[in-house]
């Protein structure tokens, strides 16, 4: 039982990991391009913007299970098979790229136009603006977007599990649904809940850390809570700690 679950966990991580990587690599430029080509953008191109926007919309609104089936021949062409965790990465990544791209678009649009103007006034070109302003300034939001994408991908990967991709979704379907092994199903649910919580927490923590460092409009309410918990000074110096230890021992 345990090796079975362990293998399933690794399969899920493998699928989600690779597809997240591909989604970020593909979605980040796409999202930035959506902002740049928009009306009033630095690379204003209404036609390109409409085309990219439309592709992203369609790909995003397709139910994942349909997308998976529709992409079967493409998947076979790339990986040589439609079954297994490698094969699942293809539709997962393709589904996640537009998802992440839209989130990137929203995040990048939030960047103050004044900053873009400032870099232009220094003689920076569009690439400089992207590299020095748009990406670093929206980094906290981009990290939150990536977190959201990972969580969505875990959900998608479970769906992929139902058609032979392996992973936790596969376990839940095969043992929980088809064999009425409810216990095993609940275990997968618990594992998923823990994994998602950890990822969400880690993502929030990273985003908040970056935001606090740079926060333009000052810390938000959540941040204040966090700050209040943090002691101002460093914890008791090492020397003091040793003495207490010694006294305890004594």
């Amino acid at each position: 039982m345990q090796p079975l679950l362990e293998q399933a966990c690794w399969d899920t991580f493998y699928m989600v990991g690779w597809s997240t990587l591909i989604a970020v690599v593909g979605g980040l430029p796409l999202g930035i391009l959506l902002v740049l080509t928009d009306r009033g953008g630095l690379l204003q191109n209404v036609v390109a913007n409409k085309v990219i926007g439309q592709i992203v919309n369609v790909a995003r609104s397709l139910p994942f299970i349909i997308l998976m089936v529709a992409l079967m021949s493409f998947t076979r062409w790339i990986t040589g098979t439609t079954i297994g965790r490698e094969a699942a990465i293809v539709p997962l990544a393709i589904g996640a790229i537009p998802f992440f791209a839209r989130l990137v678009e929203t995040a990048v649009r939030e960047v103050d136009h004044g900053l873009v103007e400032a870099v232009q006034s220094m003689g920076g070109n569009t690439w400089t603006v992207v590299r020095k302003v748009l990406v670093p300034e929206s980094l906290p939001s981009l990290i939150s977007s990536a977190t959201t994408t990972i969580v969505a991908l875990i959900g998608y990967s479970a769906m992929a599990g139902t058609v032979g991709a392996g992973g936790l979704g596969d376990i839940a379907i095969r043992y929980g649904y088809q064999r009425f092994e409810t216990g095993l199903m609940w275990i997968t649910v618990a594992i998923l809940a823990v994994v998602i919580s950890v990822i969400q927490f880690a993502g929030d923590y990273a985003a908040r850390g970056l935001h606090r460092r740079g926060g333009r409009s000052g810390p938000g309410p959540k941040l204040r809570l966090l700050k209040a918990k943090e002691p101002d000074a460093q914890p008791v110096p090492a020397a003091g700690a040793t003495t207490t230890d010694v006294s305890k021992v004594a």
Partner: protein, 347 residues
């Protein structure tokens, strides 16, 4: 240093046209602080953005340091390499500072140098030197969010100076600051103007800014420059709106048999103690109703409204004395001299 000729900017949106600039001719001399003042919507912002071509003018030319920037512009909305190089030689400071929140103060100042391709060590040296110049050497490692408004603007100024510009554009640099901080930032700009020989073009809606640091000023209304000139030229222009706004005087005559005289000080005459000379020479008592004086470039500049005992006809000689001193004299309520004489003759 900066010359614009026939600068026009028309914004088109949804079939409607808005003319932001309507044939602006501006001439900023090398090493001076030039203020463009006007209400919001007068086109100041468009004007300053057209100077480094952040906004592409619809027509007209912009020449900065002898280089015709409009000719470099090229086609399309993107800036070519030559224009970008020209821009890097023009510093710009902004109302809302526009500092990158993800970078430390030092890294913000280094940004223009990164764009210019300066090596890491050299960037750091230059950034620290500039931060020292604006009095923020101890804040190099802080993030903008940890600074006050005035400190942020100092960082903005240091950043604008990183590329060793000859020209500094200031887009309402003090409008988001309190009066005390405004004064210190203006003082800094003035010092930089003197120390580095920097030509400063600033736009503002605050008269005080023009009064405290500008050598020359222009008044903008509805996309046009209505008045322009050096502060003392403006003062010398009868009926100048800008001069009246810069040096407002008020006060009514205290009685019928008294004469109110507006004395405008500009140029060399302003160094003479004329009022006490007048009093002693003609043995008359002078009361000061109101005055707006300032020391601009070591000279006294401004207006004073004084009251002399007796009617206008009784005071022709003292007024003549003031005119002889090279002062500009206006008699409020009596627009033209000939009309006055006729009135006097009728009596």
């Amino acid at each position: 240093m900066i010359t614009t000729t026939g600068l026009t900017k028309v914004y088109r949106s949804r079939g409607r046209e808005v003319t932001a600039l309507d044939g602006v001719d501006l001439h900023v001399r090398e090493g001076e602080v030039y203020g463009v003042i006007g209400q919001s919507g007068a086109g100041k912002s468009s004007l300053i953005r057209c100077v480094n071509l952040l906004e592409r003018p619809t027509s007209g030319t912009v020449t900065v340091a002898g280089q015709d920037l409009t000719a470099l512009a090229g086609r399309g909305p993107r800036a070519g390499r030559e224009l970008r190089q020209a821009r890097s030689r023009i510093g710009m400071v902004f109302q809302h500072f526009n500092l990158l929140s993800s970078r430390t103060v030092r890294d913000n100042v280094e940004l223009p140098l990164e764009i210019l391709g300066v090596s890491g060590k050299e960037r750091t040296r230059k950034a620290l030197e500039l931060l020292d110049l604006v009095g923020l050497a101890d804040k190099a490692g802080s993030y903008p969010a940890q600074l006050s408004g005035g400190q942020k603007q100092r960082v903005g100024i240091a950043r604008a100076l990183a590329g060793d510009p000859k020209v500094l554009l200031s887009d309402e640099a003090t409008s988001a600051l309190d009066p005390e901080t405004t004064r210190s930032i203006l003082q800094l700009l003035r010092d930089l103007n003197r120390q580095l020989g920097l030509t400063v073009l600033l736009i503002t809606h605050e008269m005080d800014v023009v009064k405290s640091i500008c050598d020359s000023a222009a008044l903008m209304e509805k996309g046009r420059i209505v008045e322009s000139g050096t502060v003392s030229e403006l003062l010398a222009t009868p009926g100048s709106e800008l001069a009246a706004a810069l040096f407002p005087v008020s006060g009514e005559a205290t009685g019928d048999d008294r004469t109110v005289v507006d004395v405008t000080f500009h140029g060399d005459a302003a160094t003479q103690p004329v009022i006490s000379q007048l009093s002693r020479t003609y043995n008359i008592d002078i009361s000061i109703l109101g005055a707006a004086m300032d020391t601009v470039g070591g000279k006294q500049v401004g207006r004073m409204r004084i009251e002399l005992p007796g009617r206008y006809e009784d005071n022709v000689v003292p007024i003549g004395f003031l005119r002889e001193q090279g002062l500009q004299i206006d008699i409020p309520g009596r627009e033209q001299e000939p009309a006055l004489l006729k009135e006097g003759a009728a009596k």
